[in-house]
Amino acid sequence: MPLQLNLLHEEITQERQRKRDPLKLGIIALSFFGALLFLYYGWNAYRTIQIKGRLNAAEREWQGTEPKVTAAQKRATELRQIIDSTKVLNGLIEDRFYWAPFLAQVSHCVAPNLQVTSLDGSIVEGRHAVAIALEGLAAAREPRAAAEEFRQLLAEQLEKNYGEVKVIFRNLEDLDTPVNLSGVSTPSARFILSVTFNPKPGDTGKTEETANAVAKSK
């Protein structure tokens, strides 16, 4: 076996030691790891930029929508207010008491031998009622009977359109001086009638409905 002499032993050892230098290896490992981290950071940064783009788009969309929605909200509030106000105003209009039909009914009940000299009517607030004082003169052989006839007729006519009708005499007195009725001197009486009623018709319809419902259930 031939003899081999390593004359570069020291240099080779130094070279090996240089290659196995922990600091150098550490720097290489750190650089490699750092490069990996940098790549991962780059990927994350790219995703963030994409998201930033989406955010900008969303912001642009919102900036375009915001004035419209503010206007829409304002309009909706306005519309709701209009609807509510109209509803309340319609309620006021529907709850009104119409005097003209009542005056017509009174005039239809007044016979030729009767004169209404005063009518004082008002709406009783909060009670949904109308109160009227009617003052007049009745002339007939039996003036009180004529006044009573007027009272009954008026009550009957009013009951057709209104509810809870009450027509009562507040005063009925014979007058000493007769009145001239178609050239004939006729005894007369002065009357004051108190009329109260509910402007809404009585619940006759409701009563019928209830009766029908009861009949059906049987």
Binding site: D21, P22, L23, L25, G26, I27, A29, L30, F33, G34, L37, Y41, N44, A45, R47, T48, I51, K52, L55, A58, E61, W62, T65, K68, V69, A72, Q73, R75, A76, L79, R80, I82, I83, D84, S85, K87, V88, L89, N90, L92, I93, R96, F97, Y98, W99, A100, P101, L103, A104, S107, Q115, V116, T117, S118, L119, D120, G121, S122, I123, E125
Partner: protein, 189 residues
């Protein structure tokens, strides 16, 4: 396996490398990746908020459009009711209006004066005012009066007659003297 004998110098270098590694990790997560992730997360939240706001706004706009259709009748009605209030102070235009109205009905010398003015109790009518007027009709026939009141009630939906007093004129029983207390709902201007 043969154990590696490390020199003191090598151990120091390994420790230095480990320290460098820890420092790198710390800096990376605290100063680079952490803030980036935080900003991305906050942007995602902002996007979600904006998208939900935009979606709800679009729904609201649709609702308003539907409401507009539904409120068409009410809007028209409200405009018509608003139009019953003329420009200017009611005291300036209401009495002449009544005078002209009754004159058209054949009843002259009508006077109207403002008795009181108050706000409505209903909060929906905060833009409206309740005026009470005394209207005097010194001389009218019963038939004309009835027709005029019917016409007034039909043409003035926001006018309510609260009180009616009719007296026969003593010297001329054909005519009546009438006082009306009427309440009007007028738009505040």
């Amino acid at each position: 396996m043969k154990p590696t004998n490390l020199t003191k110098d090598q151990i120091q270098k390994i420790a230095l490398s480990a320290l460098g590694f820890v420092a790198l990790i710390y800096c990376y997560f605290n100063f680079f990746l952490g803030p980036l992730n935080k900003s991305r997360a906050s942007m995602m939240v902002s996007i979600a908020n904006l998208q939900s706001k935009t979606a709800s706004s679009k729904a609201e706009m649709k609702k308003t459009a539907n409401l507009e259709i539904q409120a068409k009748e009410a809007t028209g009605r409200y405009e018509a009711l608003k139009a019953t209030t003329a420009d200017g102070a009611p005291i300036a235009w209401f009495p002449p209006k009544m005078r002209a109205f009754f004159a058209d009905q054949g009843i002259n010398k009508v006077t109207a004066r403002l008795e009181s003015s108050a706000d409505f109790k209903q909060k929906e009518l905060s833009d409206w005012i309740k005026d009470t007027w005394a209207i005097d009709l010194p001389q009218s026939e019963y038939g004309d009066l009835g027709r005029a009141i019917a016409e007034l009630e039909n043409s003035e939906p926001l006018l309510t007659i609260q009180h009616v007093v009719i007296h026969a004129v003593p010297d001329d029983p054909q005519y009546q003297q009438t006082s009306l207390i009427a309440q009007t709902a007028l738009l505040k201007k």
